[in-house]
């Protein structure tokens, strides 16, 4: 593939989600389109190619812009749909 042979970052070229987790308490996410669902137990994000769902307890969004966002709380599960 062109992207692989040129060693280009996939998140830029293919619009893949970037998820950066620190332990199970903090997550930084980039390259998303928006929030589909937000409750204290689940956060469902719409990416360009798919969706990702964070499950856990007492989930809060520390900040939310169109570039990136930060979620903190006790995360128990990350699922790609």
């Amino acid at each position: 593939m062109l992207v692989e042979s040129l060693q280009l970052p996939k998140d830029v070229c293919m619009g893949a989600l970037r998820v950066n987790m620190t332990g199970n308490t903090e997550v930084w996410i980039e390259n998303y389109k928006g929030i589909l669902e937000y409750t204290g137990q689940t956060i469902l994000l719409q990416g360009k190619t798919g969706q990702v769902c964070f499950e856990g307890n007492r989930l809060t969004i520390d900040y939310y812009t169109n570039e990136d966002m930060k979620i903190s709380g006790c995360i128990t599960c990350v699922r790609y749909l």
């Binding site: 928006g34 937000y38 809060t60 969004i61 520390d62 939310y64 812009t65 169109n66």
Partner: protein, 410 residues
């Protein structure tokens, strides 16, 4: 830093609920509106939004069918109008700041250090004369002139440093350790060196003058030891004239001095009963505020401890607090035993001996006896000592009668 900027620009905590709050958030992010601290409780979302962005919310709210309510306002844009409406408070704050700034223009305390010979009182009266006092304006004080003035007024001061530390004037001085040598005045006429004790001369070194005694001579008090007139002879061995000088010599004499000391049989000592009482006070300047007044015991002594609160150390506000500790005692009469008396008197004698030795006196012999009489222990004795002697006395000017004759011969 970011928090401070947010505070400066102002932000609000809002409550969002309604048809689709998620869409509300997505639209916000699309419009580059930052949301933070988003928390969901039940059906309601709480979040923070900057004040500027809050005014752009109206179309979003309409589009998403949500409701927004402000819960709390944070930041300077909200704080300033509140402050402006509280005029008296702001005025007071300003007045307070002005007062602090104004009062820091003055000197409130003067501290002196490094003085040993010059007492604080003498120095303070000097400062008073030069119009330097606590409460004067800092501008009126010229530190360089003050330093010069101190050195001029006190010749023994070799180094001075005056500096301002906050509202405190700190003066550091160094005194000359060596004695000040004053130029000896050339005197008219000669001076003799005269014995001031009866005794035997043990050593003599004459620098100026004519010695009239020699080593081993026994002299009486008042005898001239070195004469201050040097005879100049004619060819025929008669005295032509006298040159008058100040006699100068190191003469050591062995002589006796007597010593006597008394110690009464009984003495009074404070016997503390062990009962103490502490009372606290606060002092403003000279006004003392005691928590309890009156004296608790009939016979007592008192220890006063006084502290300055650490807060006022730099500010020099005369506020002190401390305690009086009263200790009851009884005057009890005791009698010295022979052993105690002997010990005390021996200590006194040895003190006397050290004081002699400090003066450069050499003790040759001592003969001390202890006795009692008249309700006292009496110690008496004689010390045979060698010490430097000599008193200056004006030389008697002698007229030379045959001068006229000599001149006539020529």
């Amino acid at each position: 830093m970011i928090k401070f900027l947010k505070y400066l620009k102002g932000y609000v905590r809002i409550k969002v609920w309604g048809f689709s709050p998620e869409r509300f958030m997505n639209l916000c992010s699309n419009k580059n509106i930052l949301l933070w601290d988003i928390v969901k409780e039940g059906d309601v979302y709480y979040m923070s939004i900057s004040l500027k962005a809050f005014y752009q919310l109206r179309p979003i709210v309409k589009k998403t069918g949500t409701k927004v309510v402000i819960l709390k306002r944070y930041g300077l844009p909200f704080f300033v109008p509140v402050m402006l409406s509280r005029k008296v408070f702001v005025l007071g704050l300003l007045a307070c700041i002005t007062f602090w700034m104004w009062s820091s223009l003055f000197i409130w305390d003067i501290e002196l250090s490094g003085n040993y010979q010059i007492t604080d009182d003498v120095f303070m009266s000097f400062l008073k004369e030069s119009d330097i006092k606590a409460g004067m304006l800092k501008n009126e004080l010229d530190l360089v002139t003050l330093e010069k003035e101190i050195r001029r007024y006190f010749p023994e001061v070799t180094w001075t440093s005056a500096k301002l530390d906050g509202t405190k004037l700190q003066i550091d001085i160094k005194e000359n350790d060596a004695p000040i040598i004053t130029a000896s005045v050339e005197e008219e006429g000669g001076r003799d060196l005269v014995a001031n004790y009866d005794g035997t001369i043990t050593s003599m070194i004459v620098r100026t003058g004519v010695p009239t005694v020699s080593i081993g001579d026994t002299v009486e008090n008042g005898t001239i030891l070195v004469e201050g007139k040097i005879p100049i002879y004619n060819e025929d061995a008669t005295v032509r004239e006298y040159q008058y000088v100040a006699a100068d010599a190191d003469i050591y004499m062995e002589h006796m001095i007597s010593y006597e000391d008394k110690l009464p049989f009984d003495y009074i000592q404070k016997d503390y009963t062990g009962r103490t009482k502490t009372r606290y006070f606060i002092r403003f300047g000279n006004n003392e505020l005691k928590i309890e007044s009156g004296t608790p015991f009939l016979v007592y002594d008192c220890i006063i401890k006084e502290y300055k609160p650490a807060l006022f150390e730099k500010l020099s506000i005369p506020v002190f607090w401390g305690s009086y500790t009263y200790r009851e005692y009884m005057n009890v009469e005791y009698v010295y035993s022979l052993e105690q008396a002997r010990q005390i008197l021996e200590e006194k004698i040895s003190e006397f001996e050290t004081s002699l030795e400090e003066k450069g006196v050499q003790i040759i012999e001592k003969d001390v006896k202890m006795d009692s009489g008249g309700g006292n222990w009496i110690v008496s004795g004689e010390f045979s000592i060698i010490e430097q002697i000599g008193l200056n006395k004006d030389t008697v000017v002698e007229e030379i009668l045959d001068t006229g004759e000599n001149e006539a011969d020529e």
